[in-house]
């Protein structure tokens, strides 16, 4: 017995001494990705309870010294689920790490760095690269529509390669521009058009001050961060995507056929029987019978067509131990639905990331593209609408043929219809338009790891764009006829260089985590412009290719440059992963600011509480995540164009001072200097909440924000004796407030998986101060529509997008004949509202008749996967936006108009209509009424329509061929798909497209439909191939 006890004591002592002797051991192993068994390098392996740790090497192997007494390793790696494993069983550990699908551990790109999504304190919307490739037109800006709360995307025209208007959280500026800052891989000032959507890894949209203040004087309108792809370590993956599509006009305007048109014109002409005149109908009965048979010309069919599109993409990506790369190229060839229009884009990209040694890396992203676009003029283009085919085609009488008997373009017969306008087909097909743009985006950087947690990155970037545009209107076009040939040749170069030097330091002490970033940055850009406008060509065929043959030419050129020097710093602090604080400060010195105000300062601070980490919340077992956030900050809008603060001598005031032939060059003082001019300033407060339920299967984000923008650039009046009428000064202010709500989740996760995301946003905008004006009108400058006085107004106390005019109440019924007579009108006449009740309808009755900005916008995207099939679709819409349908003014004009609504005009038997009657002059003469209606123009609520809409924007059905099939051909995967864009549009709007806006020079003018290139419907099929 005693012997046994001694044995135990001896063993115990041995064991004890072994422990006390701190026999450290070495544990090693290999860590791979659970899905594809690829080794993972850089995985953090830490002995739990100690500070000893290491990371896996390129082969996924690690070796760690484990102090005695420790028995667990903590394994963590971004994007993968954390694991804690016991190492009692031996010194060799092999692990498979599972990917972490929960969004929380996702790393999100923020300004000048990355942050874990769980650590974010600001309002940022994130869009995956795969969502961006779904849209048929292959344009990144269009792909953002409906995908992020608070982001309004307007496709104001449908030209392939045309532009979209993107507004983040409303309009801040009147004259300073409202475009968000685009940052591609850290290089600021890029453009979304030229990017190949397949190159994009992710898009982040920074919305509140804590996210955007880090961009200082460029951040007030929001920031769109684009990150492009890089290969992963492993064998090269070759991808090829091909899409073929056709596009068509979504819907035609409802115009009459030739017979109805002829009868309507005759009816209108027969009303001209005043003063004893006897009118004669223009179309005879035989002619009308002939039109009944052959239908006449459908002019919309003449200028619109079904247009094909081809898109090819090829990419190679991969990586080795110390090099990751992506090379991709794309070719897009898209015809437009309007004849003689199209867009071609050729793009090439190389992204490289190389490890120079264990403490430095070198990266290079270069993307080049060449775009070629053309389209006949439309909308508010710088030519008369007489030669604008989109405007003229639906107006041309269907009784007119396209060609005459000699094969020349038909000239509209006089006496009816738009006889002063040009043949629509000639206006579309004859102009020769060739716009070319070559872009180079280059970003190179070197990353140094100096100490543990301290690294330094130097970046150098360049954005170089060359534009060469050539337009020739020949003698068969309206402009060409007026000017004996008109050529406009433009050449621009734009160069932008950026150097950012970023120092980051990360440190964790117990539960305190610090993340500090300091940046010194400089940017320089230069823009050069030259153009020739030549006319009076002797030879029409050579046109713009022989400018020497032009009798008259006007030359102009311009050049400007700007510099931005910046210093900024940011601290992210978190305690116990529960309490998060971010503070940032940026100083921007910009050359465009006035001499006395060269430097602007932009602070921000934000706080977040991850309540789900608190025990009392996590014990409830309801929330997978619960975060409350609040932020405040000040951002700026550089707003000022170069040299705007300086007085300038301008050319262009020529005058025949000498009294000889020709004019003498005249120079004059163009503007007064303002050395105090500075940036526009936006102060924004944001509160938000993020929470997740059902283990992360349902996530909700809601934000409320309030923004006030002050120091708006506005002209301040000067007394006339100074020789100036105004000087630009910082005098206006605007406020925006709104609410954003996003709910997303995976309602179904079984064999049929369903992922869905819905976002809704509202924005209420109010102009607070317009300087010494109480209102400013914005003219839409086309004559001939009787709207020469402005109807879009900015008014103090009212939002952007106000439409002013006269209230149209419809037509007078015959039961109201005596009431109408009191106004001097007959039944069937237009009935207006006497807003001020003074017994007269005149200019004093001008009032608000609509607003062009939406009450709310929403997007709902869904993705279904079932075995090898996938289906995704996006529905987006806008409610409450009105449009002034300017085209209807002449389309519904008696004696000229072709709209089918004229068939519904008021008659004693058809009284329930708002289209006024054709009342003959004799009846009016006989009535001899005294008129109290004096409406001077066509600013009527009759033309204001509700353009709210819901659209099935994208729908795509795909099928992945089974692996068993593809393996035989050595293909990794092959997916076939069919898709459609703009497939269904539900709207009451009668024009071509409820999103259109023809005048976009200033956001205050948005909301007028005047013959813009209509959007199209696309049907595509294609394949995605991976080798």
């Amino acid at each position: 017995m005693k012997r046994l006890i001694q044995c135990f004591m001896l063993m115990g002592m041995l064991i004890f001494f072994n422990s006390v002797n701190a026999q450290d051991r070495t544990v090693s192993g290999t860590i791979v990705d659970q899905e594809d068994n690829q080794p993972l390098s850089g995985v953090s392996v830490v002995v739990k309870g100690s500070s000893t740790g290491t990371t896996t090497d390129a082969n996924g192997r690690f070796t760690v010294r484990v102090p005695s007494g420790r028995s667990q390793l903590e394994i963590s790696y971004a994007g993968y689920q954390k694991q804690t494993i016991g190492i009692d069983r031996g010194n060799n550990v092999n692990l498979k790490l599972a990917r972490d699908l929960s969004e929380l551990s996702e790393v999100q790109v923020v300004g000048y760095g990355v942050q874990k999504k769980s650590d974010l304190t600001g309002a940022i919307s994130s869009i995956k690269g795969s969502d961006v490739t779904q849209i048929a037109t292959q344009r990144v800006d269009q792909a953002l529509q409906g995908r992020a709360a608070g982001v309004l995307v307007l496709n104001t025209d449908g030209q392939p390669g045309g532009n979209t208007t993107i507004r983040v959280r409303g309009m801040n500026s009147i004259n300073g521009g409202n475009n968000a800052l685009i940052v591609v891989d850290g290089l600021q000032g890029g453009n979304l058009n030229s990017l190949n959507p397949n190159d994009i890894e992710s898009i982040e949209i920074l919305k509140d001050a804590s996210a955007t203040a880090i961009y200082g004087a460029q951040g007030a309108n929001g920031v769109v961060l684009i990150t492009t792809k890089l290969g992963k370590r492993g064998k090269p993956i070759i991808g090829y995507n091909y899409t073929f599509g056709v596009s068509k006009l979504i819907k035609k305007l409802d115009v009459m056929n030739a017979a109805d048109y002829a009868k309507t014109i005759n009816a209108s002409v027969m009303t001209r029987n005043g003063s004893g005149a006897t009118p004669v109908p223009i179309f005879s009965d035989e002619e009308i019978a002939g039109y009944e048979k052959n239908g006449g010309t459908d002019w919309q069919d003449v200028i619109y067509r079904t247009a094909p599109m081809h898109n090819h993409e090829l990419s190679v990506s991969g990586g080795s131990d110390n090099l990751k790369y992506l090379v991709s190229g794309g070719y897009l060839d898209q015809d437009g639905i309007l004849v003689n229009s199209g867009y071609k884009r050729f793009s090439l990209r190389t992204n490289l990331l190389a490890d120079i040694n264990s403490w430095s890396q070198f990266g290079l992203n270069w993307a080049g593209s060449r775009e070629n676009g053309n389209s006949p003029p439309y909308g508010s283009a710088d030519i008369s609408f007489l030669g604008n085919s989109v405007n003229v085609a639906p107006r041309w009488a269907p009784t007119e043929p396209i060609y005459d008997e000699n094969g020349n373009y038909w000239v509209h017969r006089p006496g009816y219809g738009p006889s002063d306008t040009w043949n629509p087909l000639a206006s579309a097909v004859e102009p020769k338009i060739d716009n070319n743009l070559v872009r180079n985006l280059l970003n190179a950087y070197v990353n140094f790891k100096i100490l543990k947690g301290l690294s330094f990155k130097i970046t150098g970037g360049a954005n170089i764009e060359n534009t060469n545009n050539e337009i020739y209107h020949n003698l068969k076009t309206y402009e060409g006829k007026q000017n004996t040939g008109l050529a406009v040749v433009t050449a621009n170069t734009f160069r932008r260089f950026q150097n950012s030097n970023i120092l980051t330091y990360e440190r964790e002490i117990n539960k305190h985590h610090f993340d500090v970033t300091a940046v010194a940055e400089q940017q320089y850009s230069k823009f050069k412009f030259s153009s020739i406008r030549a006319s009076k060509f002797t030879v029409d065929q050579t046109g713009a290719s022989d400018l020497g043959g032009a009798g008259l030419s006007v030359l102009s050129s311009d050049e400007n440059e700007r510099v931005l020097n910046s210093y900024l710093g940011r601290i992210n602090y978190s305690y116990d992963d529960k309490y998060l604080v971010t503070a940032s400060y940026r100083a921007d010195g910009s050359s465009v600011f006035g001499q006395n105000n060269k430097w602007g300062y932009f602070p921000s601070a934000s706080f977040a509480w991850r309540a789900s980490q608190e025990e009392f919340i996590s014990d409830l077992n309801i929330f997978s995540d619960l975060k409350l956030r609040a932020s405040w900050g000040i951002t700026g809008n550089q707003a000022i164009t170069p040299y705007q603060t300086l007085a300038r001598i301008s050319s262009g005031a020529n005058y025949p001072y000498n009294g000889t032939e020709g004019t003498e060059l005249g120079f004059y003082i163009f503007n007064a200097a303002n050395p105090n001019l500075k940036w526009e300033s936006t102060e924004q407060t944001n509160v938000g909440i993020d929470f997740g339920l059902f283990n992360g299967r349902l996530n909700v984000t809601a934000d409320y924000y309030y923004k006030k923008t002050t120091d708006l650039l506005m002209p301040r009046g000067l007394p006339g004796y100074t020789g100036f009428s105004s000087v630009i000064d910082n005098v206006g202010s605007i406020e925006n407030k709104g609410f954003e709500f996003t709910i997303s989740g995976d309602p179904m996760v079984g064999r049929l998986r369903w992922n869905s995301s819905l976002n809704i946003s509202t924005n209420k905008n109010k102009v607070l101060d317009l300087g010494e004006n109480d209102r400013i009108g914005y003219r839409t400058t086309k004559g001939g529509y009787s709207v020469n006085t402005p109807f879009m107004y900015l008014v103090e106390g009212e939002p952007f997008g106000q439409i002013y005019g006269f209230k149209y109440l419809g037509t007078w019924g015959s039961d109201k004949a005596s009431e109408a007579a009191a106004w001097g009108q007959l039944p069937g006449d237009r009935h207006f509202e006497d807003v001020n009740n003074d017994g007269e309808i005149n200019i004093k009755d001008l009032t608000v008749i609509g607003n062009s900005f939406p009450d709310f916008i929403f997007g709902w995207s869904n993705r279904f996967t079932y075995s090898n099939f996938d289906l995704s679709f996006l529905i987006q819409g806008s409610k409450g936006n009105d449009l002034f349908n300017m085209g209807r003014i002449r389309l519904e004009s008696p004696g000229e108009g072709s709209s089918a609504r004229l068939l519904d005009r008021w008659t004693p038997t058809n009284q329930d209509t708002d289209v006024p009657a054709f009342i003959d002059e004799k009846t009016r003469e006989d009535a001899a009424l005294e008129s109290h209606v004096n409406i001077p123009d066509q600013r009527l609520s009759r033309w204001v329509e509700d353009a709210s809409y819901v659209r099935l924007k994208n729908i795509q059905l795909g099928y992945n061929l089974p692996v068993s099939l593809t393996k035989r051909a050595n293909i990794k995967s092959l997916r076939l798909f069919v898709s459609a864009t703009n497939l269904i549009t539900i709207t009451d709007y009668t024009g071509y497209d409820p999103e259109t806006s023809a005048y976009n020079g200033n956001d205050a003018q948005i909301g007028v439909d005047f013959s813009n290139y209509p959007q199209a419907k696309y049907y595509n099929i294609g394949l995605n191939l991976l080798f």
Binding site: W359, N565, I649, T660, G720, F724
Partner: protein
């Protein structure tokens, strides 16, 4: 492993120092700032063109200064209801021109031209600058009265304390400027017929003195100066009347012998659409109707039919189917191509020899307290030409036997009929204080002596509290 090496820090320091190599001060590339301009004669001349361009739209062409003078008795519908901001576009246009001229004068005084111009060349430029500035101020002072007097010596007018200087001060500047112009300008520009000459300066200075001698200054000592200057122009013989009344306003005579200085136009910078003068019956737009009472008071002479359109196809305007008023014929000229191209290249005269003759007649009569032979001869040249060199009973020649008052009234009436539609009648009505009597009875109720001045524009009154508005507005 990573050791912190000293060259890491050095590297960071170098990179940070390399920052801010670009300065934030802007240096414009495609234009110059005013302080760097006015350094060569052609830049100064370009300033003259630029200054005239500023006022061109309002006096020539469709923009029409006439709209502001519609209240005199020659135009139809001028009802003497002069609202706020009447003439404000002319105020802005003239001051914009003055701003540019002041800068040029200041630069020349500071010697900025340096060696690019000889002293004689600088004198020529200075003469032109002072001439144009004086004309601008002459128009302003007659329309608005006391003015903010902005000269090359005024520091930045956008920030300086500015008040209205009395009329005497303004006229002092005008007289000084025109006098300098008479000394420095040549009698003739061989290659540049459109430029101002010393004769034009003398003619305008004579007009200035004549205006100073009448309402509101009524400084009668100036009559002698006016007469003397006008006489100099007559004696120098550089200018003479065009013999045929129908040729006075024609393309061939735009720059002489009668026209002394005008608002110029040519095919590269047209005056206006000729359609504005023709009535609808002649396929025009009929924008400028003549007042019927005025036309009926003018005697039937060849001049009347050269200047006023009263008949078409033998029918008097009373019997026309539409637009039954007389129309301005003075600026119409016979060129169907120009008409079809919407291009009228007729100049708008500012001073012409007929005006100088009439100034002389009026001034000499006042100095002598009765018409002298020379005065009578001067005005009779006008009357004779108007009559086509025959005798017309309703339009007799004047004689030395007339009284001072009768002769004065006759000369004013002759100005009325000769210089019609040339922006001159309004100023005659004001300075002779006959606005009320010459207004047709229907509108006479709207008259008050406040009407002799246009209002200072609202924007100026609101933005500069030190400016006082003219009475009645």
């Amino acid at each position: 492993m990573k050791n912190i090496k000293s060259y890491h820090f050095l590297f960071i320091a170098v990179v940070l120092l390399a920052m801010s190599c670009k300065k934030l001060t802007e240096k414009p590339i495609s234009f110059v700032e005013p302080q760097n301009f006015y350094t060569t004669p052609s830049q100064i001349e370009a300033t003259f063109a630029g200054a005239m361009n500023r006022v061109w739209d309002y006096w020539g062409g469709y923009g029409y200064g006439m709209g502001n003078f519609i209240h005199d008795d020659q135009y139809d519908d001028g009802d003497l209801v002069i609202g706020n901001n009447h003439g404000s576009d002319l105020w802005s246009a003239h001051y914009a021109a003055i701003l540019n001229l002041n800068s040029a004068i200041k630069a020349m005084n500071a010697g900025n031209l340096g060696s690019t111009a000889t002293p004689e060349e600088v004198d020529l430029l200075m003469g032109q600058a002072k001439f144009i500035r004086a004309w601008n101020y002459f128009m302003l002072v007659r329309m608005f009265g006391a003015l903010p007097l902005i000269t090359e010596e005024t520091e930045d007018p956008t920030t300086a304390e500015i008040t209205r200087s009395p009329i005497t001060d303004v006229y002092a500047l005008i007289v000084s400027d025109f006098t300098e112009a008479t000394e420095k300008l040549p009698r003739k520009w061989d290659e540049f017929p459109g430029r101002p000459t010393s004769g034009a300066a003398k003619g305008l200075l004579a007009k200035v003195y004549l205006t100073m001698a009448t309402y509101p200054l009524k400084d009668e000592s100036k009559f002698a100066l006016a007469a003397d200057l006008a006489n100099q122009v007559i004696q120098e013989g550089d200018y003479s009347l065009v013999q045929d009344i129908n040729n006075v306003f024609s393309i061939g005579t735009k720059y002489g012998p009668e026209m002394m200085w005008s608002l110029n136009s040519n095919y590269a910078d047209i005056n206006t659409d000729p359609q504005i003068y023709r009535p609808g019956l002649l396929d025009g737009w009929g924008d400028f109707r003549v007042q019927i009472e005025w036309e009926q008071a003018v005697p039937e002479t060849p001049r009347k039919h050269a200047y006023v359109l009263t008949e078409l196809d033998g029918k008097n305007y009373h019997d026309w189917e539409s637009d039954q008023t007389p129309f301005i014929k003075k600026f119409m000229y016979d060129n169907q191509d120009d008409y079809n191209n919407y291009s009228s290249i007729m100049n708008m005269p500012i001073i012409r020899f007929a005006d100088v003759l009439l100034i002389y007649a009026e001034a000499a009569n006042k100095v002598n307290h009765g018409p002298t032979q020379a005065a009578v001869d001067a005005v009779n040249m006008i009357i004779d030409r108007a009559n086509g060199y025959t005798t017309i009973a309703e339009h007799p020649l004047l004689t030395t036997g007339m009284t001072e008052a009768d002769f004065d009234a006759a000369v004013i009436e002759e100005r009325n009929q000769e210089l019609c539609f040339e922006y001159d009648r309004w100023f005659d009505l004001v300075r002779k204080e006959i606005l009320e009597e010459k207004t047709i009875p229907a509108f006479r109720v709207n008259f008050s002596t406040d009407d002799y001045l246009f209002p200072i524009p609202d924007a100026d009154i609101e933005l500069n509290k030190a400016l006082e508005q003219n009475p009645g507005y």
